[in-house]
Amino acid sequence: MSAQDRLPAPLGLLIDRNAPLTFQFDGKPLQGLAGDSIASALLANGRWLLSRSFKYHRPRGPLSMAGQDANTLVQLPDEPNVLADMQPLAAGQTVTGQNYAGSLDKDRDAVLGHFSTFMPVGFYYRSFFKPKGMWKIWEPLIRKKAGLGVLDLNFQPQYHDKAFLFTDLAVIGAGPAGLSAALAAANAGAKVLLIEQQPYLGGALAWARFDIEGQRGGQLREELLAAVESHANIRILKDATCNAWFTDHYLPVIQGNRLYKVRARQCIVAAGAFDQPVVFRNNDLPGVMLTSAAQRLIKLYAVKPGQRAVLLTGNDDGYLAALDLHEAGVEVAALVDMRSQPIEGRLVTALQTRGITCHSASTVYEALGERHLQAVDIRRISAEGEVAPHSTRIDCDLLCMSAGYMPVYQLLCQAGGKLAYDDASAAFTLSGLPAGLQVAGSVSGRHQLDNVLRDGSDAASRALLALGLASSSEAGDYLAEAPVNFPWPIFAHPKGKEFVDFDEDLQVRDILNATRHGYRDVQLVKRFSTVGMGPSQGRHSALPTARLVAKATGRSVSETGVTTARPPFVAEKLAHIAGRGFDPYRQTAMHQRHLELGAKMMPAGAWQRPAYYGKPEKRDACMQAETRHVREKVGMIDVSTLGGLDVRGPDAAELLNRLYTFAFSKQPVGRSRYALMTNEHGVVIDDGVCARFADRHFYVTATTSGVDRIYQQMLKWNAQWRLDVDITNITAALAAVNLAGPDSRQVLATLCSDVDLSAEGFPYLGVRQGKVAGIPARLLRVGFVGELGYEIHVPARYGEALWDALMEAGKAFDIRPFGVETQRLLRLEKGHVIISQDTDGMTSPAEIDMNWAIARSKPFFIGKRSVEILEAQPLLRKLVGFSLPSGSAQPLEGHLVLKGPDISGNVTSCEYSQTLGQIIGLAYCAPDQATPGQSLPIRVEGGAVVQATVVKLPFYDPDNQRQEL
């Protein structure tokens, strides 16, 4: 059949006959139509063999034409395992088969099917590990054969994102029940989100036949769509898969490249039912498909599914489908009914009128053919699962099969629902659903069209009551439902190949063997045999497996149950889960100035900070030059990222007293004091300075990476202590620079006239408030880098103007900006620790010589008791300064300090100091290695050991004269 040879309109609901599309399959150019799926376009071109099965490489054609099986998996250039019956055809698309050796039509690996006897379920568990060491030989061979498709490692990621969607009512499934429910709810004022997996609305109304005349489905669909599509309260998502149900009706819905996170107040699942295959020999041969698949091909794509057909059915719907096929010009050779007669007697007459022979109480025992169906072997059913010896062969190229329907129970079971099966009537029921979750339509066992519609509106009525949009819910009368499931559509064959699970090539005997190995529980059978683990997730295999296990273990299907359904409902891409990446970053007010000055930026938590100014290849030179400038002239660093907390109120000093190790009650206004914080375990967790600007106002700094945590700690503790204090995190509100170097006072003096900047008027550790370049500023005299220096904190809106003013004022003094890495070198020369670089999750104050920062007379601070306990124990390690001659191998942070054959510590900081002409660093070592002058063995890159010398800190300006100028 060529692309032009489609069935006449109005068949072909989805295709545009005026929009031909050219594409390639396995290198052969073909033509399809806009609206086609890849599979429908291939079938329209007479291409029935679409894939090879996973294990035996059997030829496979379409089964469901609804994305419910793995038979249509194909390879796209940038994506393997694409469902050809769901993937829209695109112009110029290149499609290939996958999982074959040679060609799709002549797959050399198909020979494996002849050895299936030797490859029973679980054979690999027992076969490849003996004798010892054999697994290493088998593994590469198995890995080569395992898996489907080929990954494109040069794949360019596409934009995916997520969005929340809020609604009163989510209706999942836009078949007759879903449409009816959506309409009823929307008419009553509810905002409805209608979610449909397929690209069209109406569900079975679009392709199934509901009466002998074949009129009702189409008419009803038109009526419902006219009302639904124009309804202001209904939002429709087509081509959208609700992939799970989570508590409180949190529904992930995938549509295109977007994952909607639906938050619904109420939810109606009208997801329908899966047409079920019959299990007989060669039931997987191309040309054998579900009856619904053939109807979809005709009605949705105007593709004639075969020339001569046989229908195998377990319910009356097969008769109606036979009428569809007949009308589509397919010669219906026979209808084989597994039952003794249909429920609706007129159906037999309707078929006989059209010359269609009916075989009752019979089944197809075997499908015949190599790569496509050629004939079927029909037998009378003599007992459950058994057939009479007399065989009738009917030539055909199409076999439509339907054993009945299984509800699409997956979402409902994820919600906690229990699926029950009545062995007598072969009918399913669902119970135990959570509040606010309704079911409607065939998923709840309603198959009569009038019942389905009624069920939809009744479900809406219950949802409306819960939403407060109705005062009572309705429950109508329902017509009696005819049975739709044939109770035992499984016919084992002595030669096997009656497939229970198409994905995993599992035959009847594979399931039975699992039970013979002692796996009675269906969950264990699943894990042993892998039944239901393939892409179709048991949609067609769960019920026959339950039936087989039940029979083999002498239980009912209800007692056996089905395997657990977990999210996701269909395979989802990691890109959907990841969505659009949100990676927040923070920039200071001077950020652009740093870029303009050629800064090499580095991350500091979420902040972006200048590491140094210059090219990365000249890092060391830049740092040394910047250091020299600070030591000899004046430099400026952006310290806006430093944490800033305003602590205000009558109890401000008391709060700090409890939080930090030092004492703050008597701290004078206008002075700052070092602040060290320990946790309840006595571990050092942060430091900063507390600047007292008023009796009741402290400005507390914290480390860049620690401030958010410290702020939370303050709020937490204060919530317990109930002190009269206000704590505000003003980190982002203040831009700040540290102006440092011997000339810093002179630079500042050109811009600041309302503060006495003299050494006496504004001494070391003093704090002031004034104006710098007309900008209100907090000024702190600090000595982190060991030179005369001023931290200038201003409102962030003025940050860049402050930077500009200081750079301009500093020109006369040859001012130069310096970066974070330079600052780390400067402070290293002063022997100042950086919390979290030179400390870890175990560091106590004594280990880093911070005992001086502890006010022992205080009755309490967080960690006091632990600090005292630790101090009573012998020290286990000590942070020391060390030096190495210039030219030595330079230790890196993390390199190990040795003591004989043992590790006694590690390097935390290390740089070459041009100021000192040697390599300097900080390292943990054993206490008996910590005496200045001792040799400290450090294992450096390549395993060599260098002998550093322990040095008394600080390395530079030991009398602190320069910072106190």
Binding site: D161, K162, A163, F164, L165, F166, K191, K261, R263, R580, F582, D583, P584, Y585, R586, Q587, T588, A589, H591, Q592, A606, W607, S640, D646, R648, G649, P650, A694, R696, H697, D724, D726, T728, I730, T731, A732, A733, L734, A773, G774, I775, P795, A796, R797, Y798, E800, A801
Partner: protein
């Protein structure tokens, strides 16, 4: 001479993103009046984004804050997470039992609220000033698509029926903390979004990205008038 943001010492964290825009003075700083391309008024009505970071805003917190603000002529929302428009166009957002956020009015270019920040004195009364103009950037998302745009960034239902005029949400959007207030300007639907000032560049980009499918773009102040 045309205005340039660097003529002012007060600068929005986003001013470099408006390099080609026409600016207008706004108090001691400036604001984009238009970008000079297309119908910005129509864009604002559909999906527009305006940087209001230079418009005055300030917060007060403490047991005495309510009395302090009432004494200065402000009407206060009765409950937290509500906003109340003042006669002069400024807004008072109640952030908690004892915290208020004042948003300046475009009518007086934020002068009144700016004065509140300058007038406040630290004393013994429990009424602490919060420097919201410096801690937060202020973005205005306008138009009929605002709720759908925000649904791509934020888990709070911001549709008009769930988040009516005067509502305030303190939540997270695009993984940073934000304050969102539904405060239309006349007939124009507007969500006022206050985010960490240091994250403004990031959040502006995240918003524009979310607006793209709706054809949303930045707009100037002229589009709101």
């Amino acid at each position: 001479m045309s205005l340039h943001a660097e003529h002012f010492s007060e600068r929005s964290p986003l001013y470099r993103l408006h390099q080609d825009a026409q600016l207008n003075a706004l108090g001691d700083s400036c604001i984009v009046s238009n970008y000079g391309a297309g119908d910005e008024r129509a864009r604002a009505a559909h999906c527009g984004l305006l940087d209001l970071s230079n418009l005055a805003r300030v917060g007060f917190r403490g047991a005495a804050s309510a009395a302090y603000l009432e004494a200065r002529g402000y009407q206060l929302p009765a409950v937290p997470n509500q906003a109340l428009s003042q006669a002069d166009g400024s807004q008072v957002l109640r952030m908690s039992q004892a915290e208020y956020l004042l948003l300046g009015s475009l009518q007086d270019t934020g002068a009144r609220v700016r004065q509140e920040e300058l007038a406040w004195q630290f004393d013994d009364t429990p009424n602490y000033l919060l420097p919201r103009q410096d801690s937060h950037a202020w973005l205005l998302l306008s138009g009929t698509c605002q709720a759908e745009v925000m649904a791509k960034l934020c888990g709070v239902d911001l549709r008009a029926e769930a988040f009516p005029v005067g509502s305030v949400a303190q939540t997270s959007a695009a993984r940073i903390n934000v304050i969102i207030a539904n405060l239309p300007l006349g007939e124009l639907p507007c969500l006022h979004i206050l985010c960490d000032r240091a994250s403004a560049d990031y959040f502006w980009g995240a918003l524009l990205d979310a607006m793209q499918e709706f054809g949303g773009q930045p707009v100037g102040l002229d589009a709101l008038r």
